[in-house]
Amino acid sequence: MKRLTAVAALLSLAAVAACSGGGTNGNSTGGGGGVYTTVDINKPSLDVNAPINPWNPKGNAFWGYNAMRIAWAKNTLTDPNQFYPGIAASWDIAPDNSSITLHLQPGNKWSDGKPVTAEDVKFSVALAYTQGSTAFAVDPGAAGAASDVEVVDDKTIKITQDMKNPSVTFVRGVMDAFVVPQHVWQSVVPADFWDTLKAARGDGPEAEAARGQIKALSEKVLAFAPAQDVSAGPFVLKRMNPGEALLVKNKNFYNAANVAPDQLKLLNTTGNEQIWNYLTSGKLDNAPFTAVPADVMTRIKATPGNQVIKGYSPVAVSLAFNQAKKPYDNVHVRRGLAYLINREEVTQIASPEGGTAAVTTSGIHQKAAREWLGAELDALEPYKLDPTTADKEFAEAGLQKKDGKWTLADGKPWKVTIHIPAPFSDWVSAAKAITSQLTTAGVDAEVVTTADYPLYLSELAEGKYDLGFWLIALGPAPYNIFQRLYGTSNGWNILGGKVKHSAAGKDGNWMGGPETIDVEGVGAVNPGELTAQLNSVSGDEQKAVIAKLAKAANQDLPVIQLWDYVNTQFVNTNRFTGFPEDESDLLRQPSGVWIQLGMIKKKQ
């Protein structure tokens, strides 16, 4: 009887506790500004063991919330050098792009009350050198690297580019730097760091040793764990558990008066289905880009307050060829396959809400392509569904058709095998749709899934696949866009500022394309060298190079561009308003940036 009583008491306690826990949800909203709930797109999976460190891959420094960059890139269609203010309120860029002078937010303080100064920025630049970045690279000859960092006054700092090998992305490289408080991180960087850096920029064994010393600091920086969060962002991390992180408003933030939420909740997610559940139950004020099937989308839209916002996402997905393997070394085979793929149907099946069928293969997202190429985009071959032309292309390649099925030139069976990482459900659906279309057209085809993304990338790089899916068009910087087609994966590497081509199967070259391409109306081009030029040229010259590369990609088809992603986000207007409109460039930044700019308002 005693045991029974004890069990009953325990159950009662659990029930009471459960009820009280439930009640607390409703009463714990904190201050008048309310609680803003979201998922951090950059770190959806929280880790309580990770340090509050923006360079740590799992660090609990969340971009835009409690981790601040010098400025926030707009990622416009064509210009990588447009920004929203961050630690810097404004900036002056030299006309020849040789330097940038940053004017810090006046009156901005760290959450512990100390002022944010130019010395903090300079110190953070030192940390950035240990991690490597475009502007803060130690490697000799690196394009777009800074040569000098000068503190002008407490709130002004000037960063000068090494004009021996300049890059149009220098400014972007500077602005992307995180800024952390020097008084917290002081112990990580030795006092003679800038002398060591100066030595590292030279030649010879001493310079090599100095570079080694700086690189050796990288582990220390990555692992550094401040005892508590000291933030210059709109929020400060208060506490975490494995499921959620709670951040509270930083009263010292320069724009604190316009930061509406008093508290911010970041939810841990390990898969899209959890985000769908949170959205369906109306818990999230904002969910970043998430692939959503049509039926789930209907349920999400039916939840009161939920709205969908769409904008530009500088990413496209393609079907990439390993040209080291036959018959994909033959451009007619690649073109023939392009004419057999119905991209509209594939996109409708794989990514109806998050993608738009590619208008053609140019290597660029169609929205940016229109800006870069203008009418020239229409002159590119669209590769619309056309089985007759596909047959001609296959015949041109010497393939044979027997009993309605295409075989290799020597009469041996031909099977198109597309590899896909299994966890990417939209890619799997797309690959299945493509194989179905090809099979209908007489091309034997199959989909093979790989267990996970690291394995997929590893086997892809080893040249094990004939065809695989590959993200391209990662803009807005033109070099970044074309590097996906004519970079390391296709044999071109930039070493010490010089372009070097490696043969198929070496140095990460799994695409195995030719080193030069004869482009109609242009002549012979080396696409890797052209791509590297995009680092330094600007204006009309840049447009001319892009046009050549787009033509080369369109004619030679190292990949077939399938669909261009659409940045589909979700917001709930029950608690907050002021979210970005459709097509806003802010959709390419986390909602912490919307909040810090003062856009988000509590619903009255």
Binding site: C19, T24, N49, P51, D176, G243, Q274, L471
Partner: protein, 335 residues
Amino acid sequence: MAVLLRRLAGHVARGFVMILVVTTISFLIIRSVPGDPLAARYQKLVEQGMAPDAAQRAVEALYGFTPKGGLWEQYLDYMGGLAHLDLGQSLSVPGAGVSTVLFSAAKWTVIPVLAGTLLSFLVGVVMGVYAAIKRTGVLGDLLAISGSLLHGVPQYVLALLLGAIFTTLVPILPAGGTADIMIDPGFTADYIGSLVQHATLPVVTYALAGYGGWILAMKSSVVTVLGDDFILAAELRGMKRSIVFRYLARNAILPLFTILALSLGLLFGGAIFIERIFNYPGLGLMLIDSINNRDYSLMGGAFLLITTAVVVANIAADLLYTVIDPRVRSGGEAA
């Protein structure tokens, strides 16, 4: 007592060798897992908008956390570290020790799985006895059917079903997490309530998933014991039902103790599906994450923890069996 100590020493020695062998095999398997974690990290950074050269340098900074040298060298390093109880550094969370990450995740697995296992054991055993005694009645049949049904339904189906009911259709329980972050952690009714509330669905799923096996095993065991002569003799002597019941239960439950002990050893393996579905971040999710990130040290640490737990549970089961069942004692002590 000396016999027990001798037996214990033998078990510990054998257990140690077993852990050593399994650790070596795990090490070899883990190191041969294909896939490049740094390439995946590079792709992620590029997809986030980082310039390719910057992404390459950022990845190189991580290189310091990857194991160095040949396989044999790595093995010696690893075993040398283990000798000093150092499980190494995590690659996916640079700067965090493997043991810190493991124990941080372990508490969110062990407590709910332990609660679920013990709950299912207690209910399953009691219902199993009842189902055996009443095996010719409707209630006995219903209990047996409930056991078969729940035993046959996969854990993840149960989890999805309970999740759909209690987080969407009748949303009275949280869909994920371990506790409401808005409540200050501490030994307060609010915080404990929140912990209980968040653990309810995982615990109930573990309990329901285990219940079927216990009830069926117990019923079968009781039915066997019911036919034994000593039960008949007890009944013929006119012993009280409660005493007969005690004889019955004590003998029937013996095989289940071994299974229970082994189940407790497997606690550390986590329940990947349940933790994933309820977004309950324990060892199962951590193990998946470490595999996805090819975090060799963390994977090795997790396998070592699971192996050690199973070996210890085996030893405990064997010793417990010696204590509770006089027939297996050696040296004529049972006589």
